[in-house]
């Protein structure tokens, strides 16, 4: 193609810096949002993989199980008597370091003599002062990576304070590990390595191992060995592939990551609208020029290439900037993502962003792809420009008006298709999101028709309010529909995203609040400080439990025990519930008081509780039932200390505490099948007339300073729970904000271009006696009208989106039933947001127009 033609294109772009600049900004923001979320997700996943790799090492199989882990004799039996090698014992657990808030550590207790074949990072041990001997021979000694130690300001010989369950301990750094490479460095970032004896002492699990690692070859020899090992396993202990466990854990966050990804794509979709808008506009702007070029013999293909190339340049710059911005944004996102994972799923320590080249490449392709897709229509549009020298706007607009009903029809069809997709009985999240996007596009296509309709309604109103000028601005929106419609659609999409996501979060929160109100019925809650907010499996000191539950002012106390057990569905959180009421009186039957805290989705309480307390039945939470297709009356299998056992499901209860779901059995059933006698948390009912806050205080005094235990009133726990909720939705709120930002940029660009293009028309009006103030009014009232239309349209679209998010996406992602809650505030907010964006966008063109001398405006061709 001609160089001169290129030059012409480039100069065209440069002559419209506002338009192009905003387009670039829009696409950059869109790409940045997607990239940052992707980077954050990938970093979290990488960190998780690394930590599991670090911890599992080269183990192919693991022996796990039992309420308190694996008996250590099994290890000796396997190694010495059965001669199974390589084999290594592990005692591990997560601990907090109170001096370093926000950092959690994983203690890996190993037998250094068995470690060689499994985990090689132990090799970089500093060659000084007999650190290894110290590690082996002294209690409370540990190794840290030199890097982590430096971060924490520690050196070999220093001590680090940790909190194990409720107990505070101090570990002496016997030495430092010097990782040889980047991977080792990251692997060791949050590990505290101790001798296995030390770990057993720290976690107070004498005689027990967390697991036994094995390396078993593939093939028949390995299979025979597996059989041999399995035959030796006691009941409740299982042999499984090392990968299976980490996969099961990783699976937990998949829906969460997918949700973030999908929401981030919304920002890009708004970005696509922006590019589409810019390119369409620049084509329309240059119709005469393109017509001339066609007359001079420039082929359609050349025109097509030209327009697409221009888009590509914008896309390339925008995407490039987006990648940089995305990396910067990602640093913030990764903190939010990690926070949520820590609140909801598992302990994940992530100190930095992994910049995966693949993610950047994906972002690049996504950005360019989006640009090209968006530019395709305007590029085709450009080739259909007849090779004529003189073209009137009216032909374009009349053509568009011809398009309006067809676009509307397409929109309706798309919306119908989306509805069909939503009605398909499936658990596919992608299908859900596909339908959501189809709906949005459908609504976008309906926008021009809706705009024409609304303007017809608004014109008399505007006329009455502002006279001729008012009618003129209303008419202007319709006359320039080719450009106004896209701007309105972009703004509508963006605002509806904020409406939809806003309603979803609000409904979710309201549902959780209601659930907390009904389920938190006791007065005081006692639990160990937990690293993962949604579960607590560290045990409370039995003596402490005894002391607290018999304290004066305590009427009765119930206990919870939470552990993770194996099941055919993967690791399952099991809660053993005990309703102990030593001083039961007639007034309040603790069982009645307590059990009313459960609201059942399936099953009748009067049948459930007898089955639960007397017949060994289980009750399961709604997400657990949803995930595994279970109902009241189903049977589930769980790995117990006596081997795998079957439980009947008496009922399904509402629970918003864990999206993985929980299984609950009675303490009595638990003690029959598990050897564990520990208690994870305590629920206390106060005597009549006892001041709860005073009781909390006295219980705290009773607990003493040596126990790091959380004693909270009903009210405090409720607040803490909501705080966690708000924290987990922080990232969604940020995404919502970013999508709005992109939309704002889009509207700014579209409206600005539109108004700047009207220079000539406004020049004529000025020449005919319109004052600058009137021009200003005309421009801003027109953009304001567009904002109003977008705002009005975004309300129903946002509500539909919220419905899909609440009843399809959330259900499929997490299995929760949420009650939709429409707050007028959010709707009003949407309207204001749209209006504000539109009016702000009109300011610059209005000022510019008002200041420009009419002669100049007229001269411009």
């Amino acid at each position: 193609m001609s160089r001169i033609l290129w030059r012409s294109s480039l100069r065209h772009l440069l002559r419209h810096p506002w338009q192009i600049g905003l387009s670039i900004l829009g696409i950059a923001l869109g790409v940045a949002v997607v990239i940052s979320i992707d980077l954050a997700n990938q970093s979290a996943q990488r960190a998780f993989e690394l930590s599991t790799e670090t911890i599992a090492g080269r183990a192919t199989h693991q022996i796990t199980g039992g309420s308190a882990g694996v008996p250590e004799e099994l290890y000796v039996q396997l190694r010495v008597e059965a001669g199974v090698r390589p084999i290594a014992p592990i005692v591990e657990g997560d601990v907090a370091a109170p001096a370093y808030p926000g950092r959690a550590f994983h203690i890996l207790g190993v037998d250094p003599f068995a470690e060689g074949p499994f985990r090689s990072y132990l090799t970089g041990l500093e060659a000084d002062d007999g650190g290894l001997v110290l590690l082996l021979t002294h209690p409370n000694t540990a190794l840290l990576s030199s890097e982590t130690a430096a971060q924490l300001g520690l050196r070999a010989g220093d001590s680090i304070e940790i909190r194990v369950g409720t107990a505070r301990r101090s570990l002496l750094l016997a030495g430092l590990l010097h990782p040889a490479d980047e991977i080792s460095r990251r692997a060791l970032e949050s590990l505290i390595i101790t001798d296995i004896a030390t770990a057993q002492e720290l976690f107070d699990t004498p005689g027990r191992l967390s697991r036994i690692d094995l390396i078993i070859p593939e093939g028949s020899a390995g299979d025979a060995l597996l059989e041999q090992v399995r035959a030796l396993l006691p009941a409740g202990v299982e042999l499984e592939r090392a990968a299976a466990r980490s996969q099961a854990i990783e699976q937990m966050t998949r829906a969460f990551s997918l949700n973030l990804m999908a929401l981030s794509l919304l920002a890009l979709i708004v970005g696509i609208f922006l590019i589409y808008n810019t390119m369409t506009f620049s084509v329309i702007q240059r119709r005469t020029l393109i017509g001339t070029l066609r007359a001079l013999g420039v082929t359609r293909r050349e025109i097509f290439t030209l327009v697409l190339s221009e888009a590509l340049i914008i896309g390339l710059i925008g995407t490039g900037a987006g990648l940089l911005l995305g990396i910067m944004l990602g640093r913030g996102m990764v903190r939010l993502v990690t926070q949520t994972i820590n609140d909801l799923y598992f302990v994940l320590s992530l100190q930095e962003l992994t910049i995966a080249p693949l993610v950047l490449l994906k972002g690049l392709l996504l950005g360019l792809g989006a640009t090209l897709v968006a530019a395709l229509v305007p590029a085709f549009e450009a080739t259909s420009t007849p090779p004529r020298a003189v073209l009137t706007r009216s032909t374009i607009e009349s053509r568009l008006r011809w398009l309006v009903p067809r676009a509307a029809l397409g929109g309706v069809l798309l919306a119908l298709a989306a509805t069909v997709m939503l009605l398909v009985p499936s658990k596919s999240l992608w299908l859900g999101f596909g339908a959501l996007w189809a709906l949005l596009f459908g609504f976008a296509l309906l926008t021009p028709a809706a705009t024409v309709l609304l303007m017809r309604l608004l014109r008399p109103v505007m006329g009455r309010l502002f006279g001729v000028l008012g009618r003129m601005s209303a008419r202007g929106v319709v006359v320039a529909l080719s450009r106004t419609a896209i701007a309105i659609a972009a703004l509508m999409i963006a605002v509806s995203v904020t409406v939809g996501v806003g309603i979803m979060i609000g409904s979710f929160r309201q549902t959780v609040v209601r659930w907390l109100d009904s389920s938190l019925q006791a007065d005081v809650y006692v639990s160990p400080p937990s690293l993962v907010s949604s579960r607590s499996d560290a045990p409370l000191d039995p003596a402490l439990v005894q002391r607290l539950s018999t304290a004066p002012g305590v009427k009765s106390a119930s206990t919870y025990r939470g552990i993770i057990v194996n099941s055919p569905y993967g690791p399952t959180q099991l809660i053993a519930l005990e309703l102990d009421n030593p001083r039961r009186d007639a007034e309040c039957d603790a069982a009645a008081c307590h059990t009313s805290a459960f609201t059942f989705k399936e099953g009748e309480p009067q049948e459930i509780w007898p089955a639960f307390f007397e017949a060994g039945a289980a009750i399961i939470s709604e997400p657990y039932a949803y995930r595994h297709n279970l109902h009241a009356g189903s049977r589930i299998r769980l790995g117990t200390d006596r081997g795998e056992r079957e439980f009947s499901v008496a009922g399904v209860f509402y629970d918003y505490g864990s999206d993985q779901g929980v299984v609950m059995i009675s303490r009595q059933t638990y003690e029959q099948l598990w050897d564990d006698r520990a208690i994870s948390s305590l629920v206390i009912y106060a005597e009549e007339g006892v001041d709860v806050d005073a009781l909390v205080e006295s219980l705290r005094v009773l607990a003493g300073p040596e126990h790091d235990v959380l004693i909270r009133s009903n009210k405090a726990l409720r607040e803490a729970s909501l705080e966690v909720f708000d924290r987990t939705f922080a990232i969604t709120a940020v995404l919502r904000l970013l999508a709005t930002l992109v939309a704002f940029v889009g509207v700014l660009s579209a409206l600005m271009a539109l108004q700047l293009e009207r220079a000539r028309e406004l020049g004529v009006l000025r020449a005919n006696g319109l004052t600058p103030r009137q021009v200003w009014g005309l421009v801003t009232s027109q953009t304001g009208l567009m904002g109003l239309v977008a705002g009005l349209l975004s309300i129903p679209v946002g509500i539909v989106m919220a419905l899909v998010l609440i009843y399809i996406i959330n259900k499929r992602s997490f299995g929760w039933t949420l009650q939709m809650e429409l707050s007028p505030g959010i709707l009003l907010q949407a309207l204001l947001l749209a209006l504000l964006a539109a009016i702000l966008a009109g300011i610059y063109p209005a000022i510019k127009m008002a200041r420009t001398s009419p002669a100049l405006a007229l001269r411009e061709e």
Binding site: S2, I4, S9, L289, L296, G297, R300, A389, V390
Partner: protein, 241 residues
């Protein structure tokens, strides 16, 4: 692309219109703009097309240049029936063999005068130094040799049209089509532009077909056509007394 090469090199008529008709659908009604027009135009002729607004003059130009296709009939230029060419071939034919001059000049605002001039040449391939020199000398001939680096918006209307004339001739086309080239100029400037156009085309031996209202031009023309009620009629020249 042999099909778009003119087939009667240098001999025979340049333009032949055979039973050329063009009708537009306007709602229910069909509006006939051109009805079975026949004409033969030789090389080097200066042909003027007269007619009222909306009489179909521009339509005829569009048909001749291949921008538009006739409802019936044929346009043969230098032996090539352009109605039988594809859209792509017609575009390439146009780019090589036809020069356009528009009423509103239609210079590319984002290109300098020189670039505007070179654009048709570039579209046809690489520009040789000789071609470039020739094009620049054309610019000298239209009296704008010193404005090569200016952008069109810095030129007056007359100057812009002079650049457009140079652009139309730059790639040495067989045929020049001018659509009311003076329509947007004052009388004096219009006259200058016409003189220039006449001089340059005759000098280069080009065929020029011009749509105009201006009766002044008639005196310069070799042949005058009018379109009346969709019919192409040749006006006989009055023999000078």
């Amino acid at each position: 692309m042999t099909s778009i090469q003119p087939q009667n090199n240098g001999t025979g008529p340049l333009i032949e219109l055979r039973g050329l008709s063009k009708a537009y659908q306007e709602g229910e009604r069909e509006r006939v703009v051109l009805h079975s027009a026949d004409a033969t135009i030789s090389r080097g002729e200066f042909v003027v097309l007269l007619g009222r607004s909306g009489s179909g003059k521009s339509t005829l130009l569009n048909l001749i240049s291949g921008i538009d296709l006739p409802t019936a009939g044929d346009v043969v230029i230098a032996g090539t029936s352009i109605t039988r060419l594809s859209e792509q071939q017609r575009t390439l034919f146009r780019r090589r063999h036809i020069g356009f001059i528009f009423q509103f000049f239609n210079l590319i605002p984002t290109l300098t005068v020189e670039e505007n001039l070179l654009l048709p040449l570039e579209l046809n391939g690489r520009v040789s130094a000789a071609e470039r020199q020739a094009a620049l000398s054309l610019l000298e001939q239209v009296g704008l040799g010193d404005r090569a680096q200016s952008f069109p918006d810095r030129l007056s209307g007359g100057e812009q049209q002079r650049v457009a004339i140079a652009r139309a001739l730059a790639h040495d086309p067989l045929l020049l089509l001018a659509d009311e080239p003076t329509g947007n100029l004052d009388a004096e400037t219009g006259r200058q532009v016409l003189d220039l156009l006449d001089r340059l085309t005759r000098q280069a031996g080009k065929t020029l077909m011009m749509v105009t209202h201006s009766s002044e031009v008639i005196s310069m023309a070799d042949r005058v056509y009018t379109i009346q009620d969709g019919r192409l009629v040749e006006r006989l020249m009055e023999v000078a007394p």
